[in-house]
């Protein structure tokens, strides 16, 4: 305050304290007000019908004359207007200082505000920096802005501490009415707070109008006030409006923005609001927050449903709106903020925090993040945090091992072989296959497409429509994915990160996993990734808090559906274990939860499951082809006990010896006896089922192969049981180590033996490579000549001579997409074509060609390696004309006319069921989705809601 300053106008300050059931805070507020270093000139208290003694507090502090009592239903703006009506003008430049009953200003607040007002004669509204009432370091507001859809934006992170990072006097769009200092003449000029906005956004509207009138709105951070945000946080009942505060907030926000925007931006904002509201409604529905969705929807409807009110409000704000918009536009949230917010919300949703809005939230509402403890103890930058996490390291290590082992598979032109048909086509082909009610491929079939096609289609759609990417991810990436899922899923079960690393790596590198990859068993690969999740969810169903248990049950049902679609054997295995668990741990609601979990797959997969269960043997098979070369018909007994399912891609039997030894050693531990017994029970059950499965001859869907089923899935169950047993007792190792001496040596030995399994398995896998029957580059079996000439839907008879005889299949212009080969052709046409193919090859003459022609077969293709006897036999067929013959492929064409059989009319119920299925999946997903954690953690109303009616300051 030097002598060179311009002469200051003389200020008078009238403070208005509005209270409503705020005695908890009011005392402190009044005390703070009266302790100002720059004392206020006049103070008026307004009480809106408090019932908690606020009036007494006010009169006690200010004297009975300075207190006005209004009815409970009065809004904040009305109350202030009422006071100003009764209060004559003060002298000089008069300021009004608005205070809520829950807003205590710092002692130097008024002084700082006035000093800032002196600096800038155009400043008409000034606001202090707001901090949290309870945690006094937390920043609440340093000015508020809004985006064009009405989203509040404070520019602060959730729970940000005030360290002076925003300090300074800054132009802002608006400041809160809590602690707002406003020039009385400007107040009168713009008309004060709009009574149509009794609560929420009235401050924004006022400041916007002040700005439109050509004044400035400043936030002065030297002035500090502590604000309890009692109304917003529902610390007290809102009585100014019957609506829910969230809906009110949303409606007012939209209303204010629309009323204040000039015409052109308004049109854009209209469109954005329309789509934005719809989008948010859907998001809230998906996030299982129907109340939020309803609020969003109703708020939108309420704004757009009253065009007259809107027009009137716009007319009132017409003056100066266009001219000052240039300044205001700079203060609005930038357009990119919406996307950033969406990203933030997705991120927080993924991390389990629910749809928390980071920006614009009244901050203290955000519940304190539950510390994940071990995961985030050290905070030294994202990179270090991520890379020092054992889970991430495990994933990376497994990914590296996988890359090294699958060197010959990755990056090939076309993945296929073993049980996996060469992967062609895109997501749309899979969707078509799943949707069509009559499959034209092959000889035509009206069977239900396997539901795993839909799962793959969804995944492919997410991966830019690339089916090969989806299959590669699931099949080739199954080892790191299984490791990650095992590591994460056991978080709540197993203490000790390195124990979990051991568990997850052992699990991911089981012989089942390498075998599934080598043989192209997509089904087992998917189940392997899901199995730890099943275990975690089942644990939560059995032991979790009731709502979480039910939620977990829905989730378990949904994931079981996915697993069952890929490998049906998962369902009975899980069902038996689940039923036993429900019997063993009777708790209220567990039986229902289990029933939910096991009814969901049946309902969702209904027609297909019925069709599959008609041939019970097929329940033992999985997605892809059943081939005798992929199973070991005489699997030795010791292999089954050592978790080795046989077939290609098996490490030596003794690799898993360390694991079994560790699990047997766990039996000697004194703790967790019950869990150990249960784990071993699961393991023995899995092995028993594996034995039965591997001794059961199963005929494939096409009827061409009869071979034992592959016991991969039950062995994975058994391994899960064993691993949990061993991991649970691992903490004893630490104690043994600490004990020293012989015990220490024993502990070291056990650790070495246990870790030998994943290390040996990884080493063997990398050394041998994952190249089994599965190949990275598989030629397309359909010659281009055929593909080009069968545009009209002509079929091709593919013949392949083997030592056991001749195999054939019928294709329609292209290789079957994943899942298509699993749909069996109807018996009649299959048998007729079989006889015709046999006749054709034998060269007996006759009308075999006519039979083929009647089934729409125009081409006969001999696949590599071309057997010269077969090619001669086909050459000597008068009904066939050769188109091409080489060592790799031979193509013949039927010389007669080919009748393309028309597709029979589809079953109308097919499409209807698919719609129903989609809806059911969405419903189950919504029921299973983790609700936002804030729901439960939000502070419950602390006061008994009185039989209320009225208003409060906020």
């Amino acid at each position: 305050m030097s002598i060179t300053d311009p002469p200051r106008p003389h200020h008078t300050v009238t403070a208005i304290v509005v209270s409503h059931d705020g005695s908890r805070w009011l005392g402190e507020t009044l005390e703070a007000l009266l302790r100002q270093t720059r004392p206020v000139d006049r103070v008026v208290g307004v009480d809106n019908g408090s019932r908690d003694g606020s009036t007494a507090l006010l009169t006690g502090a200010l004297g009975p004359k300075a207190v006005l009592t209004l009815p409970r239903s009065t809004g904040f703006g009305e109350a202030v207007t009422e006071v100003l009506d009764r209060l004559g003008p003060g002298g000089g430049q008069e300021w009004i200082w608005l205070l809520h009953d829950d807003c205590a200003p710092d002692a130097r607040a008024l002084q700082a505000l006035l000093r800032a007002a002196d600096q800038d004669p155009r400043a008409a509204v000034l606001g202090p920096k707001l901090r949290d009432w309870l945690d006094r370091r937390l920043l609440l507001e340093v000015g508020v802005t809004v985006d064009r859809t009405g989203r509040r934006d404070t520019g602060l992170e959730a729970r940000e501490f005030d360290q002076g990072q925003y300090d300074g006097v800054r132009d802002v769009l608006s400041v809160s009415t809590a602690g707002m200092l406003i020039r009385r003449d400007v107040w009168d000029e713009v008309g004060g707070l709009d009574p149509a906005l009794p609560l929420f956004r009235d401050d924004l509207d006022l400041c916007w109008r002040v700005r439109s009138a050509g004044y400035r709105v400043l936030n002065v951070t030297q002035a500090v006030a502590w604000h309890a945000e009692a109304a917003y946080r529902r610390r007290r009942r809102i009585t100014a409006s019957g609506d829910h505060p969230r809906r009110l907030d949303r409606r007012n926000a939209m209303f204010v923005v629309m009323a204040n925007l000039p015409f052109r931006p308004l049109l854009r904002a209209l469109v954005r609001n329309l789509f934005g509201s719809l989008f948010r409604t859907v998001l809230f529905l998906a996030a299982k927050q129907p109340a939020n969705a309803l609020d969003e929807f109703l708020a939108f409807g309420s704004v757009f449903g009253h065009p007259v009110r809107m027009l009137r409000a716009r007319r009132a704000r017409a003056l100066g709106r266009e001219q000052s918009y240039g300044t205001i536009r700079r203060l609005l949230s930038p357009p990119g903020a919406g996307w950033r917010r969406l990203a933030d919300r997705t991120q927080s949703y993924l991390s389990g925090a629910g749809f928390v809005e980071s920006a614009g939230r009244h901050h203290a509402v955000t519940a304190a993040q539950q510390e994940d403890g071990e995961e985030l103890l050290t905070d030294a930058g994202v990179t270090q945090r991520v890379f020092s996490n054992p889970g991430v390291l495990l994933f990376l290590a497994l990914a590296l091992v996988t890359l090294a082992a699958e060197r010959s598979l990755i990056g090939g032109a076309r993945l296929g072989g073993g049980a996996l048909v060469p992967v062609i086509g895109g997501a749309s082909d899979l969707w078509d296959l799943y949707r069509e009610d009559y499959h034209q491929a092959g000889l035509g079939s009206d069977a239900w497409a396997p539901p795993y096609v839909a799962v793959l289609a969804v995944l492919s759609s997410l991966l830019f429509g690339k089916t090969w990417l989806a299959v590669s991810l699931l099949l080739l990436g199954s080892v790191p994915l299984a490791g990650l899922s095992a590591y994460v899923a056991t978080r709540s079960m197993i203490p000790g990160r390195w124990t979990r690393v051991w568990l997850a790596s052992s699990y991911a590198l089981l012989p089942v996993a390498t075998g599934a990859i080598a043989a192209g068993r997509l089904g087992t690969a998917v189940v392997l990734v899901l199995l730890p999740v099943y275990a975690a969810l089942a644990t939560r169903v059995l032991a979790g808090e009731r709502r979480r248990a039910r939620r977990a049950a829905w989730g378990l049902g949904l994931l079981l559906t996915v697993g069952t679609a890929f490998a049906p054997l998962v369902y009975p295995l899980a069902a038996v274990l689940g039923a036993l668990a429900a019997l063993a741990f009777p708790r209220r609601g567990v039986a229902v939860s289990m029933a939910v979990a096991f009814a969901v797959p049946v309902v969702l997969l209904f027609p297909w499951l019925l069709q599959t269960a008609a041939d019970p043997g097929r329940l033992l098979l999985e997605a892809g082809l059943h081939q005798s070369s992929l199973v070991e018909a005489r699997l030795p007994a010791q292999a089954l006990l050592l978790l080795s399912p046989g077939g290609p891609g098996m490490p030596p039997l003794w690799v898993t010896g360390g694991l079994i030894t560790a699990c047997l050693a766990a039996l000697l531990m004194r703790r967790n006896r019950m869990v150990i017994a249960i784990g071993w029970g699961v393991a023995l059950f899995g092995v028993l089922v594996a034995i039965l499965v591997s001794r059961t001859q199963v005929t494939s869907a096409g009827g061409d192969v009869e071979a034992p089923a592959w016991p991969g899935v039950p062995l994975a169950f058994a391994a899960t049981g064993m691993l949990v047993v061993a991991a649970l007792t691992a903490d004893r190792i630490v104690e043994f180590r600490a004990a020293g001496g012989l015990r220490r040596a024993a502990a070291l030995g056990v650790v070495l033996v246990a870790f030998s399994t994943p290390l040996l398995a990884a080493g063997m896998w990398v050394a041998r490579g994952a190249d089994g029957p599965l190949r990275g580059t598989v030629r397309d079996v359909v010659p281009a000549l055929v593909a080009v000439n069968s545009a009209g839907g002509e079929r091709a008879l593919m013949l392949h001579g083997t030592e056991e005889g001749l195999r054939y299949t019928v294709l329609r212009g292209r290789t079957p997409v994943v899942g298509e080969a699993d749909i069996p052709a109807p018996d009649g046409p299959r048998e007729r074509v079989r006889l015709a193919a046999a006749g054709l090859v034998s060269g007996r003459g006759g009308d075999d060609a006519r039979v083929l022609a009647a089934h729409g077969i125009r081409f006969v293709v001999l696949t590599a390696p071309v057997d010269p006897r077969l090619s001669q036999a086909l050459d000597s067929q008068p009904a066939l004309a050769r188109m091409s013959l080489s060592r790799a492929v031979g193509v013949w064409r039927l010389t007669q006319q080919v009748a393309l059989p028309a597709a029979p009319p589809g079953d109308p119920w097919h499409g209807r069921w698919l719609w129903a299925q989609a809806v059911l999946v969405l419903v189950v997903a919504a029921l299973a989705a983790p609700g936002s954690r804030t729901d439960g953690a939000e502070p419950a109303p602390q006061e008994e809601p009185g039989p209320v009616r009225e208003l409060a300051a906020r």
Binding site: P422, L625, L641, L664, P708, R779, H800, T863, R882
Partner: protein, 470 residues
């Protein structure tokens, strides 16, 4: 239960016992090592057969379907626009002269008449440039035919091509000579429209070879190909029989006994030179030819080997083995100015064989030369005369590694012979030799036995989506 679980060793013992029990179950349930025998091919009667006699004009044509066919069936004999006959009785021999100048005779047999239908044409000239016996089996349209014999420098060789199918056939003719493959200016590619037949002078394609192997193959469609060789200087005439396709082991059956030149022709069609080991199978046993056990055949060319001394006038068959695929034929002559006849590599008569046109009696003789190179062969032989009842079949046993000569009985008029291998028989190869003493030297013709088209072997066929996999 609880105490058992709480007991440290009790649970361990329980688990170990359970594991042992599981081991026992798994061990007991382990299936026996039964090598699943793949189902063998199935025999079904053929349903339709077409054969083409290349130049029936002025010859005797014999057509027969062996007895035993079930149900209805016909065999239609058509030459040009004229239908010569329609046969419907299996087991009855049709044997007639065909007017001179007739175009190729197409026999189409369906139903019961198709099973084993066999046709042959035989021409007998007592004088002139074509003096001698010239017979050939009427073959089916195929995509590939091998013919081995003298080249245009030694004989007037004419190739008869017929397309009896409904689709056009593009035919390519490759000539291998003693000096290697012949690349002619003419190109050797012909397109035959459906039903079209044409003759090709081999001299136009390759004028110089003394010996040759012809490969008639189609780029699309099928043709029948037969070649007639008229030896220069009136030294006989005969048709070249179709030789077995290239293989590393070739059996040339039906080498008649008696005097005269026996010249083996071996063509290597591979791109590498090869050494061919030659063994002779005679009624007395098997032996390697003295000093000639190995023949060197340059790549893509034909080698000739004189065996006149080697087999020593005994009926014989030759077994040729080589590292690379070869094709073989044999030229047999009777005396200096007698007749010529050709035989060639053949395939075993696994399903039986039929020889349609035979004559015996007076100065005519016919005999079968049967060879069992690997194991004992047992064959039943039945004679079906044109007139009269079918004769009783008789059994012929052939010792392993030997050739057996079976004289066919005297029959009035022409007759057909049906050979059927008996159970337990090894592979049998054979040839039918027919000769006649004519003025100026005996006439001779040989027909290697071809497997009858009685049965088709239907392989076990299954539908399997695994076909799309590599």
């Amino acid at each position: 239960m609880k105490s058992l679980i709480e007991n440290r060793f009790g649970l361990l013992a329980l688990v170990l016992v359970a594991l042992l029990a599981l081991y026992g179950v798994a061990f007991a349930g382990r299936p026996d090592a039964v090598a699943a025998r793949p189902p063998g091919p199935q025999k079904v009667p053929v349903a339709e057969v077409t054969t083409v006699c290349p130049a029936p004009g002025g010859t005797d044509v014999a057509v027969i379907t062996p007895p035993g066919g079930q149900g209805q069936g016909t065999a239609t004999l058509v030459t040009g626009d004229k239908t010569l006959a329609t046969l419907d009785t299996p087991g009855r021999l049709w044997h007639e002269g065909v007017p001179a100048g007739s175009p190729p005779l197409v026999t189409t047999a369906v139903g019961s008449m198709a099973a084993g239908v066999e046709a042959a044409q035989t021409r007998r000239e007592t004088s002139g440039g074509q003096r001698g016996l010239a017979g050939v089996r009427c073959t089916e349209p195929v995509a590939s035919t091998w013919l081995v014999g003298p080249g245009p420098a030694a004989a007037d060789v004419t190739l008869y091509l017929t397309n009896a199918d409904l689709a056009p056939a593009i035919t390519e003719i490759l000539v291998y000579s003693g000096e290697g493959p012949v690349v002619g200016d003419a190109g050797g590619v012909f397109t035959l429209k459906p039903g079209e037949s044409r003759t090709v002078k081999v001299a136009d394609l390759a004028p110089s070879p003394l010996v040759m192997a012809l490969h008639v193959r189609t780029i699309s469609g099928r043709v029948t190909a037969a070649a007639r060789a008229i030896m220069n200087g009136g030294r006989g005439v005969d048709w070249l029989p179709a030789a077995a396709p290239p293989a590393t082991r070739v059996v040339v059956p039906g080498i008649p006994g008696g005097g005269g030149e026996r010249r083996l022709l071996v063509a290597s069609v591979d791109e590498a030179d090869t050494l061919v080991e030659v063994r002779a199978l005679t009624p007395d046993g098997t032996y390697a030819l003295k000093g000639r056990e190995l023949v060197e055949v340059p790549a893509g060319s034909v080698a000739a080997l004189d065996l006149s001394a080697g087999v020593g006038g005994r009926p014989a068959a030759l077994v040729l083995t080589s590292d690379t695929p070869i094709v073989a034929g044999l030229v047999a002559r009777t005396g200096a100015k007698g007749d010529v006849a050709f035989t060639a590599g053949a395939v075993p008569i696994d399903l039986g064989s039929v020889v349609a046109g035979n004559r015996t009696g007076d100065k005519k003789g016919a005999r079968l030369l049967l060879t069992a190179p690997d194991a004992i062969g047992r064959v039943s032989v039945q004679v079906l005369p044109r007139e009269g009842e079918p004769r009783e079949p008789f059994q012929v046993d052939i010792s392993a590694g030997r050739t057996k000569q079976v004289k066919l009985p005297k029959v009035d008029g022409p007759f057909a012979v049906v050979l059927l291998p008996l159970p337990g028989s090894g592979p049998v190869y054979g040839g039918r030799v027919m000769d006649e003493r004519l003025k100026g030297g005996p006439a001779l013709t040989i027909q290697p036995l071809a497997p009858a088209r009685m049965w088709a072997l239907v392989p076990p066929v299954t539908e399997s989506a695994a076909v799309v996999l590599p």
